[in-house]
Every structure is written in C-alpha cells, then in structure tokens.
C-alpha cells in the first residue's frame, strides 16, 4: 500500500484551485464568484500546510501563514458580501455581467 505523499496534496490543491478559478471567472452570480475565490484561497492553504509538513516539519511557519490566510479570507468575504448586497439593493441584481461600470 502506497502512503499518501506530498504530490497527492499538491494535486488536490491544484484541482481545488482550478475549480475555484473556474468558478470565479465563469460564474454569473457574484456570490458564486466569492465562493470560487474562497476555494482558491483554501487550495493555497493546503499547499502551505503540505509543504510545512513534508519539507520542514520542525517549524510551524506554514501553519501560521495558513491561519493568516484564513483570517484575511474571512475579512475579504465580509467586504465582498457587503459590496454584493449593496449592489443588489441598488440594481436588484447580483449578476457580475451587469456590473461593468468600470469601463470607459
């Protein structure tokens, strides 16, 4: 029986990141876009923990970094959801296709 090694974690993280990226650029719903971003951040967290565990198990810098990412992600979600709610109240839509006011 083969044990689970570093590359399994990295493949998982890559799959998760790709799903998250797809969600964030392809989904119409703003909330789904935020969820995609969350997935990408968590894929990064998996990477950080995995590298910490397999390459340098004596220090815990990777875990600390992951915790920071989680904190930042929480803040980002709070702000992102607040923006989407605000836009919904203004325009009665959460579709990112309609949110294109940044152009010329």
């Amino acid at each position: 029986m083969t044990s689970i090694g570093l590359q399994h974690y990295l493949i998982l993280a890559a799959i998760l990141f790709s799903i998250g990226f797809y969600g964030s650029v392809a989904k119409k719903n703003g909330v789904a876009v935020l969820m995609g971003i969350e997935l990408m951040l968590n894929a990064v967290n998996i990477n950080l923990i995995a590298f910490n565990r397999f390459l340098n198990p004596d220090v815990s810098v990777g875990m600390i970094f992951a915790i920071f990412v989680i904190v930042v992600a929480a803040a980002e979600v709070a702000v992102g959801l607040a923006i989407i709610i605000k836009i919904y109240r203004e325009r009665l839509t959460t579709s990112v296709n309609d949110i294109d006011w940044l152009k010329w």
Binding site: F21, S24, V25, A26, V33, V96, N97, I99, D100, W101, L102, K103, W104
Partner: protein
C-alpha cells in the same frame, strides 16, 4: 542748461499725458499746455546753445551723461544725453518750428472736434523728436525713432474717418517699418562687432576697422533707416501720401523735423560712414538720385501740398548727397535753413487751403489781392527754396554745390545744379498759378487769423536770415561748430554762386513765361511730350510697381507659405494627435469593465510570468 537737457523730452511728454488724461475736454487749455511745454523746451534749447558757445563745446568734446537703463551680463543699455553743436542746432530747429506750428494750429484747427487729441499727438511728437536728438546711443535713438514714427502715423491718420488718410498712415507706417528693420539690423551688427551702443565708444573703435566689409555692411544697413525716415528713393512713397494729415503736421513732421531725422542720424554717427567709403558713395548717389527724381515729379503735380512734399523729397536728397560727399556741415546747414523755409511754405499752403477749401492749385489763383501776408511770405519761402540771394536757401544750397564739386563729384554737381533749375521752375509755377493770375476759387478767400499769420511772418524772417549763420564771408560761423573731422572754411566761389543763381533765375523766368505771361503754351508742351508727362503725372508708376509686386509676388509667396503652414506643419501636428486619438478609440474596447475579464487577464499574465521566470531554472529553452 545742459545739465537739465533731460527735461527736453520729458516736458512735452508731460504735456501729452496731461492733455490726454486731464484737459481733454478743455480744448483751449489743451492747446496752451502743448504750447507751454514746447516753449519751455525752446527756452532750454536756447540755453543749451548759449552754453555750447560759451563753454566751447565742440564736436570732439561733447557733454555726455547717462544712467544705466538696462543692465544684464553682456548687455548694458544706457539712457543718456549727448550735447554737441550738432545736437544744439537740431534742438533749436525742432523746438522753434514745433512751437510756431503749435501756435499756427490754434487758428488752423479751430472748431475741429479732435482739437485736444491733435495737440496731445503734437506733444508726443515733440517729446519723441527731442529724445531722438539728445540720444547718446543707438538703442535710445531707435526707441525715439520708433516713437516719432508712431506719432507721425497717428497724425497722418488724424482724420481717421477718411479712407485715404487711413490708407496713407498705414502706408507710412509700413514703409517706415521696412526701413527701421534695416536700421535695427545695422546697429545690432555694430553691437556684435564692438559690444556697445554708445556713439562715443563706437566712434573710438571704428577707425581700426576702416573700410572693412563688416563696417560697410553695417553702415549700409543703418542707412536703410534714414532712407525710410527721410523718404529717399526707393522708400519715398509714403511721404507724398502723408499729406493726408492736417497741414501744420505736414509742415512740422513731414517737412521740417521728422524727415530730417534721417539726415541727423547719418550726421550723428558720421564716423561710421566716413570709415566705409562704399556706404558713403551709396548715400551720395541715393541722395542725388532722389533729388532729381522727386523734382521731376513736382513739375506736373497740381496738389499744392504734394508739390511741396516732392520738393521736400528733393531737398532731403540734397542733404543726403551733401553727407555722401563727406560734408556734415553742408548737409546740416541745409537741414537748418530748409526746416524754416519749408515749414513756412507748408504753413502758407495751409493758410491758402484754409481760405479756398481745396488743395488743387488750379482752384486757387489771384490770392495775392485777398491774402497779402500769406502770399508774400510764401514768395519769400519760395525764393529761399529756389536759392536766390540773399535768402537762406542760397547759402546752404551753394555750400552743397560747392562741396560736391570740390569733392570731385562732377556728375552729381551738374545734377544738383539742374535740380536747382527744376526747383525754381516748379515752385514758381505753383506761385504763378496759385497766388497770381485770375481767381478760380469757388469760395471768397480771406486772410487767415493772426495766430496763423504771425508764425508765417516769424518763419519768413528766419527764411531770410537763417542763411547768414553759415555765410562764407563770416569768420566764425556754422562750419566752425558743426563738422566732421576738422572744420572746413568754405571759400566763396563766385562761379558756383553765379551759375546756381543764374540757373535758378532762368527757372523762374521760364515759369513766368509759361504760366504767367503764357507766351509758351503749357498745353502744347504737354501734348508734345505726352509720354513723359504721363510718366511724371503717375510718379514713375512706383506705387503701381509696388502694388504689382505685393499682389503678384509677395502674395503668391506668402500664399505658398500659408499653404505649407496649413497643410504641412498643421498637417503633421494634427496627424499625430489624430492617430493617437484613433488608436485610443480602438484600444478602449479592451476595457470591458467586467471584473471576470480582468481576472482572467491577470491570471494569464501571471502564468506567463511564472513560465518566463522558470526558464532559467529549467535549463533554458
């Protein structure tokens, strides 16, 4: 008085300011301000002349003082006063004529709506002319040179409601601009060579470069200024048209003083020309040619002021010729006497015009019965101009003829003698037609008021007497004061005197025969020489040639420049901005505003960056 010479230009300038801003509504007061300031200037000039004689100020040891007007590294411009006998003579001429013209204008301009404006301009002219005379450097001189041009422009266009006056003042201004540009280039060139504008310093530096090409070019460029201001051929065209201004203005500016500024400029820095022989020859021949050229036109003209204008051209030509043959004395002497008798003639003409309301000599006739003072003072002025003994013109004209002959210019001497004949002829033609014979006027002429006749009488006295200041039998006279190099006592030459008097008398006789006794029919002569007559009548078609030149040559060239400016220069500038704008219009579509789009681009770019950074790690391509 020399110490307060700086007041000379300031007093009339003050008059100009006061009239323009304070007394504009009070007409008589305006006139009195102008007369008062000019009278004060005359007193100062007389004081200066007295001190020049008393203290023995000579051409070599002038009184000069100056302040720095502008001082930056490499360039110092002074504002200063330079008094020598030359300036003193010129100051008296300018102040006397200006004061008499001011007084004359009291009566002449009576009832004119622009009375105050007229006197303010006259004061401005006085200020600029006096500033020009006392200038001690080229820059200051140029400054006032332009100001006299400006006041001349304003006064020619004084009747600005009249189209011809507006045309005339534009013509005068443009012709003078052309000339002033030459002058400007000339003294800038001198500044480049010697690093100073000051007359005295330049005079010291010049002899070392005698007859060099640089000095010759500079002298000819400087001479272009006087060609315009003193109306020498080929820039003479503005002066006859300048007669559109009020007649006293013609007397003051366009006969006696401003047009003499060119002669004065050449005399002021004569060392420049004396050290450039070719330039001196140019001066002599331009002067001689102008003298003949203008005199021939005057023969057929019928406008009293224009005849006098062409006569002025001719006499200025004489002065230039005298300078050109190397005699500042003769040129300035003729300038002095000419200022008096030509002012007299113009003021007399003004008086006649005032009476008959026409400029044409054919509309006058028989004025001597109704206007004795005007007629007889006019005759005195004419005799002086024709050079009849003992009137002023006799002495100065003879001196010019004498120096021309003595300098070895036999051709110019014969030409000048012939011009003396023409002068006598056309002036007496004018006299016989306008003042004698039958009256042809539609108005009943009457003698002018005292304010007009008194200046005439004073000028008549000068026209008789002014010649004696330079009469050759005096021991110490004009030549001992105003000269270049060393004073030259002219030896009276009876032959020259006899020839010039004889030829002038024959001119008068011919005019008398043709226009008074009518023994010779003017009509027949005209028909016989119709071609010549037509050419003269049209002033050698110079105006037409210039018109053609501007229409066909200058306009074509400038329209080519116009085209290239609009299409090539503007085209390039517009092309650059248009292409940038068009490019921007296309490129803006990549800004979709959709966040997902941007995220995709950022991600793709990150991938590419990572690949690019990974290439060396992976061992190159």
């Amino acid at each position: 008085m020399i110490k307060i010479a700086w007041l000379l230009p300031l007093l009339p300038l003050l008059g100009f300011v006061v009239i323009s801003f304070v007394t504009k509504r009070l007409k008589l007061l305006s006139a009195l301000v102008a007369i008062g300031t000019m009278a004060a200037s005359l007193i100062i000039s007389l004081g200066i002349a007295y001190e020049v004689l008393r203290d023995g100020v000579t051409m070599e040891s002038p009184v000069e003082y100056a302040v720095n007007w502008l001082s930056v590294p490499g360039l110092t411009i002074e504002a200063g006063i330079l008094i020598d006998p030359l300036a003193a003579v010129m100051l008296i001429v300018v102040c006397t004529v200006a004061l008499l013209v001011d007084i004359y204008s009291l009566g002449y301009m009576e009832g004119d709506p622009g009375y105050s404006r007229y006197f303010s301009y006259l004061s401005l002219f006085g200020a600029s002319m006096l500033g020009l005379v006392v200038a001690n450097n080229y820059f200051q001189m140029f400054f006032f040179w332009e100001l006299v041009g400006l006041s001349s422009y304003l006064l020619i266009g004084y009747y600005f409601g009249r189209h011809s006056a507006v045309q005339a003042n534009k013509k005068a201004f443009i012709a003078n601009r052309v000339a002033d540009f030459g002058f400007l280039l000339g003294f800038f060139y001198l500044f480049l060579m010697f690093g100073t504008f000051n007359f005295g310093e330049l005079a010291q530096a010049m002899p070392a470069h005698a007859n060099s090409a640089m000095l010759t070019i500079a002298a000819i460029l400087v001479f272009i200024g006087p060609v315009g201001k003193s109306a020498q051929f080929p820039l003479h065209v503005w002066l006859p048209d300048a007669m559109e201004g009020p007649t006293p203005v013609s007397a003051l500016i366009h006969a006696a003083t401003m047009v003499a500024a060119g002669v004065y400029l050449v005399s002021r820095q004569f060392v420049l020309f004396a050290n450039a022989e070719i330039a001196l020859l140019v001066v002599a021949y331009v002067g001689g040619f102008t003298a003949l050229f203008a005199a021939t036109i005057a023969i057929v003209n019928s406008d009293i002021k224009r005849i006098l204008a062409f006569s002025t051209l001719s006499q200025l030509g004489y002065m230039m010729m005298a300078l050109g043959v190397g005699s500042v004395t003769a040129g300035m002497f003729h300038l002095t006497t000419h200022a008096f008798f030509k002012a007299l003639l113009f003021l007399g003409a003004g008086s006649a015009i005032h009476a008959v309301h026409s400029n044409s000599i054919w509309k006058m006739g028989g004025l001597y019965k109704k206007m004795p003072i005007t007629t007889w003072t006019f005759v005195i002025g004419t005799l002086a101009l024709a050079g009849i003994f003992p009137f002023a013109g006799f002495w100065s004209k003879d001196e010019i003829l004498l120096v021309t002959r003595d300098a070895g210019f036999t051709g110019l001497y014969i030409l000048a003698t012939f011009v003396a004949f023409l002068t006598a002829f056309y002036m007496f033609r004018l006299i016989f037609i306008a003042f004698f014979g039958e009256s042809r006027s539609e108005h009943e002429p009457h003698e002018s008021p005292l304010s007009m006749t008194v200046p005439l009488l004073i000028l008549a006295v000068f026209s008789i007497g002014a010649g004696f200041i330079g009469a050759p039998f005096l021991e110490k006279a004009f030549w001992a004061l105003v000269y270049y190099g060393k004073p030259h006592h002219p030896v009276p030459d009876l032959l020259v005197m006899a020839v010039s008097t004889g030829i002038a008398l024959s001119g008068i006789l011919l005019a008398w025969l043709i226009y008074h006794k009518k023994y010779i029919s003017a009509e027949k002569i005209k028909e016989r020489f119709l071609v010549v007559y037509t050419i003269l009548e049209n002033k050698y078609y110079i105006d037409e040639i210039y018109q053609w030149f501007f229409d066909k040559v200058v306009l074509v060239i400038s329209s080519a420049f116009n085209w290239s400016d609009r299409n090539l220069v503007d085209g390039a500038a517009h092309g650059i901005s248009d292409s940038i704008r068009a490019g921007g219009a296309k490129l803006r579509y990549i800004q979709t505003g959709s966040m997902q789009n941007y995220a995709l681009v950022i991600f793709a770019a990150t991938i590419l960056l990572v690949i690019w950074m990974a290439i060396p790690v992976l061992g190159g391509i």
